[in-house]
Symmetry: C2
Subunit: 211 residues, 2 copies
């Protein structure tokens, strides 16, 4: 398997091509570092979108949700989807308004979804998703019953129409602007986890397992 995704007419990054990446390992990392993606499709000729959680297994990315969700149902029914994963890593403060930018890592995936039909496979994907949220959790929780599996649609998308855009580092100003008396640089941002909050109805004596 090539270490690069194939550049296709539909996945070729046209704007800002110097920020383009088709690197398989880098793209897997961008996907795996994120908990949520945005999923777009076309419903009755109109754009539609939802934010949702995702997980990856090899060369497939998966999402799930209520079977009756109109966007997931449209994709299950064959509508093409576009998934986008974005990490904002910082604001790039330039000396000129025009060159203000962001440091980011984003991936765009196009594809048709494959419905995970078999209950055993749905159960396995429930496990994979739960384990992404907190490794080791699956063995302790109450696993899905038949009714819950039925109410949930799982959709997988092959990672073959994929591209990434990545920007990092300093602002890039026009040469003549470097002499301006303006602070320039990066305001980095990142996501952090706060202290776990116990459920108000937590059973007495139950402690959170350290990860």
């Amino acid at each position: 398997m090539s270490d690069q995704y194939e550049v296709q007419p539909h996945t070729k990054v046209v704007r800002g091509p110097n920020r383009a990446s088709y690197d398989r390992t880098q793209i897997h990392g961008i996907i795996d570092d994120a908990l949520i993606c945005h999923v777009g499709t076309v419903v009755n000729g109109r754009p539609a979108m939802i934010p949702t959680a995702h997980w990856r297994v090899g060369e497939r990315i998966y999402i799930h949700g209520a079977s009756k969700n109109r966007i997931l149902a449209a994709i299950a029914d064959g509508a093409e989807a576009c998934l986008c994963i974005t990490h904002l890593d910082g604001l790039v403060m330039a000396r000129s308004a025009f060159h203000h930018s962001a440091n980011y890592r984003s991936v765009i995936i196009y594809g048709h979804g494959t419905v995970v039909a078999d209950d055993a496979d749905k159960m396995e994907h429930s496990r994979l998703f739960t384990e992404k949220l907190e490794p080791g959790r699956w063995d302790h929780i109450r696993q899905p019953n038949k009714q819950e599996l039925k109410a949930t649609v799982f959709l997988g998308f092959d990672l073959d129409q994929v591209s990434a855009k990545v920007r990092a580092g300093d602002p890039v100003d026009d040469e003549e602007d470097y002499d301006l008396d303006v602070w320039a640089g990066v305001l980095p941002c990142h996501t952090v986890w706060g202290a776990p909050i116990d459920d108000g109805r937590l059973k007495p004596g139950i402690q959170r397992k350290a990860r």
Copy 2:
């Protein structure tokens, strides 16, 4: 003006209606708290999406980018857009796999974009965007020239087809699962800003102004 956005067939939250909000002040807050949104549209019958920065002025949300970007150009040309803003506030860890969820605030906006055509208006929106990034910055930076304004398309969307979904608080498990010996609660997450990083070519003697 009503304090609620009108619920329309296209904006009515069907799945999880108890999480729906059409509250104008709350929706403005969700929009303003975010630096980036995801913008979807339909190009040649196919879904397309970009992450981009946004800002709000009253009952309009604005985005900008390269005039030649195919998605922005399609919207400028009349294609309907769907904008989504999402804050992930935490992971909701339930006692059952099925009731795992996220705490989040998201807004979906449908609309056709209006191109900001006039150079003075484009300049004013450059100012508004820059001031969102860092209040007080506009007066110190080199402002856009004619060529830069020409290379940038600004699109405004009326906030009228708008809905939000908001989830907060504890997991909600099936009654019989509360007796399980499983830790349940919320893993809160939020975005934080790191220490500013000076540009490698920062002019000697320039300090970042404290905000």
